[in-house]
């Protein structure tokens, strides 16, 4: 991704809550509001989602003998 494209997107994301929300729901429309022309690779970087693994605090494993 071109440096100026990234800088613009990060600046908008940092300062504009509406833009941030739109990026979450509809990244295509969010980028269109910036007026920037993106390359195919840059669009792919915006749209790519990875849901395979999550980062999470692991709950305690409390092995119990219960009677519920």
């Amino acid at each position: 991704m071109r440096n100026d494209v990234v800088q613009t997107l990060v600046d908008r994301w940092e300062n504009d809550m509406d833009f941030r929300e739109l990026m979450r729901k509809d990244p295509n429309r969010a980028v269109q509001t910036t007026g920037m022309e993106l390359t195919e690779d840059e669009w792919a970087a915006i749209r790519k989602i990875d849901w395979k693994q999550t980062d999470a605090e692991l709950q305690e494993r409390i092995s119990k003998q219960g009677n519920c």
Binding site: V10, D18, R20, T33, I49, S63, G66, C68
Partner: protein, 660 residues
């Protein structure tokens, strides 16, 4: 009539009567219906307006939305700012929310007034400047959600400061007593990694940028220096100004967000990293805090973020690095993960003052408080050395030949119990005879201890820690437990073996007792052995229940490779139940949907059953010592308490943290 209205306008109070008459003659009444636009941002300025009746809403475009700047009432005027700037474009849009009546004064009449009375220009410019200042503050992050009266309050309090090119406005390491909003010019934020060094540029802020806020809301020294790159005009806000503005919820959230985004987080010392594979072959990292016995799972992307929590890298920089590494632009990844790591105690986070701190100790909501009563524990810690000694002495129990023997006893005992199930009736009847009940009770306690000991033994056989054990109440029923959290570091198959080891011990004890019961010739001994066997079989059945956090739940959770299955499922259900109407969502989230619904239904059924039993118990005992109405009331109160406690546990999970 127009002249009479103009005479009442406070903004025109200094205008001589003769000039007011001329203005009145030039003014034209105009009426706007609800929703009409009076002036449009960007249009050429050709008149100013005085509100006669109704209200005028002022907004300014920001991105795709219109930011409300204020509302004007009768006697107030608008449209003069662009005229004072010599016919500049409109800086805002004015609309009528309902029927609006105004007097429209053409630009020529206004300019004629100023030409004839130049002393009035200062007054108009002063009012315009105040209005522009308020608009500027309103459009600046993080003040865009401030209500109009709060914007006016803040505009009256801020002071101004000029900065020459190269001037240091903020010095790293100094105490902070003010923050700054860039009105004009640009500044750079510089981090000095070493004293006396040049420092590296972290950011450049232009008009509307806020800096210096972190020291005010965390009470920490300045974490970077700021230098003017060109002549700057700055608005200066004190801590009182900033915290006063932060009383508005939207500003508070925005400020908190800004401080966290600009932070340079650091991982806590002493955290261990352990790699292991998941069921699909992905290598994940499990963080372990040996001091607290806490664990955190990181995906490969999460590990990348973790490795860059060095106290020098900002989240902005982390976003860029993440993009280069994974080819994905997602600033939210770093922000969310760092926030969660900080909340879980694995990374540092700026500790915000007072109402800004959303991590203040302990949940205060009544649901959270009651939810804790669902799982009450009395915990004994520091047991691992003792468990290690027991494993050294008794680890032979896990040798293959011994396991085979235990399996044979369990199987034979089960067959025997089913074959002679008719002994159960006489055994239960024998409970009333001395000393059957105390011996049965001793057998139950011994079985429970053996169940927990089995878990601990298998954990130690894998070289993992058993940090704690204890007793308690789970969903108001007595239980004993062992903390096997260290098994998060082991692969799925080993975790499942630990989970089933307790139930396996129950089956062996039950089998041995059933066979022994058949070997003795009736009497109290047979009754005791039979009832202990029965207890162990019932324990296996209840522990297989995956809908509460018993052994069966952990088996299911590990088999699906879904840590936190219950919290994630109920949390998703609580947040997203409306999305169930979508087939795509049902397909994508079938695990959360099925488990969440099943757990919810079970909790309700358990609650109803418990209420009925407890109420009956209370009525029988209380009725013997108090009037029936009092016993009935006690039953109702207890029932309500039981419902509240049991359902609070589920509700707490449904209110759980959002995770996208």
């Amino acid at each position: 009539m127009a002249e009479a209205w103009l005479a009442r306008a406070p903004a025109l109070a200094g205008v001589p009567a003769a000039a007011l008459t001329r203005l009145g003659q030039a003014a034209v009444e105009a009426q706007y219906a609800a929703g009409d636009t009076v002036v449009q941002e960007g249009d050429a300025a050709d008149a100013l307006y005085v509100v006669v009746s109704g209200r005028a809403e002022i907004t300014s475009a920001r991105g795709n939305s219109a930011v409300p700047l204020g509302v004007l009432g009768p006697g107030e005027l608008f449209g003069e700012i662009a005229l004072l700037d010599g016919g500049a474009r409109r800086r805002a849009t004015v609309r009528a929310p309902a029927l609006l009546l105004v007097l429209r004064i053409p630009a020529a009449a206004f300019h004629a007034l100023l030409h004839a009375h130049p002393e009035l220009e200062a007054s108009f410019r002063g009012a315009a400047d105040r209005m522009l200042l308020q608009s500027f503050i309103k459009l600046a992050t993080p003040f865009d959600s401030l209500p109009p009266e709060r914007v006016r309050w803040l505009a009256e309090r801020v002071s101004r400061r000029q900065a020459a090119p190269g001037e240091r406005i903020i010095e790293q390491g100094a105490a902070g007593d003010a923050c700054y909003l860039v009105r004009r010019g640009t500044v750079e934020v510089v981090l000095q990694d070493e004293p006396g060094g040049e420092g590296r540029q972290l950011a450049v802020l232009a008009e509307g940028g806020l800096f210096g806020e972190a020291a005010l809301v965390t009470d920490m020294p300045r974490n970077a220096s700021v230098r003017a790159l060109e002549p700057c005009e700055l608005l200066v806000l004190t801590r009182a100004d900033l915290l006063g503005a932060a009383e508005a919820g939207g500003v508070r959230n925005r400020l908190r967000d800004l401080v966290r985004w600009r932070d340079r987080p650091l991982c806590r010392p002493g955290i261990e990293e352990h790699a292991r594979s998941t069921s699909d072959g992905t290598v994940i990292t499990v963080l372990k805090d040996p001091q607290r016995g806490a664990y955190y799972q990181l995906s490969p992307e999460g590990r990348f973020v973790w490795r860059h929590l060095d106290g020098r890298t900002t989240l902005r920089e982390l976003t860029m690095l993440h993009l280069r590494e994974f080819g994905r632009f997602d600033p939210q990844v770093a922000l969310d993960l760092v926030g969660d790591l900080a909340r879980a105690g694995f990374a540092t986070a700026p500790r915000l003052l007072g109402a800004l701190d959303d991590q203040a100790a302990g949940p205060r909501h009544w649901v959270a408080r009651l939810g804790r009563l669902v799982d009450l524990r009395w915990t004994f810690r520091g047991l691992d050395p003792a468990m290690a000694r027991v494993h050294r002495l008794a680890g032979w129990v896990l040798a293959r030949p011994v396991l085979a023997l235990q399996a044979a006893i369990a199987a034979a005992g089960l067959v025997a119990f089913c074959w002679r199930a008719g002994l159960s009736g006489p055994a239960l009847a024998a409970l009333a005879r001395w000393p059957v009940l105390p011996w049965v009770y001793a057998g139950v306690v011994a079985s429970t201890l053996l169940h927990e000991w089995a878990h601990a033994l298998v954990v130690k056989s894998y070289g993992r820690e058993v940090r704690a054990a204890g007793i308690g109440l789970y969903y108001l029923a007595p239980m004993a437990f062992v903390d096997t959290s260290d098994m998060w570091l082991e692969p799925r198959s080993r975790r499942i073996l630990v989970n089933v080891s307790g139930m396996a011990a129950n089956l062996v004890v039950a089998g041995a007792c059933a066979l022994a019961a058949l070997a003795v010739a009736g009497g109290e001994a047979q009754a005791v052995l039979w009832l202990v066997a029965a207890f162990n079989y019932v324990s296996v059945l209840t522990n297989l229940n995956p809908l509460l956090e018993l052994d069966g739940y952990y088996v299911l959770s590990d088999a699906l490779d879904r840590p936190n299955l219950r919290q994630e499922s109920l949390g998703w259900l609580g947040r997203s139940w409306r999305a169930i109407r979508s087939r795509a969502t049902v397909r994508e989230r079938r695990v959360e949907l099925l488990y969440g619904l099943a757990a919810l239904v079970y909790a309700v059924a358990l609650t109803v059953t418990t209420v009925v039993l407890y109420r009956q118990w209370v009525l029988e005992r209380f009725a013997a010592v108090m009037p029936s109405w009092a016993a009935e009331l006690a039953g109702v109160v207890l029932a309500a308490l039981v419902v509240a406690i049991l359902l609070a546990g589920v509700l707490q999970d449904m209110r759980g943290r959002a995770r996208t």
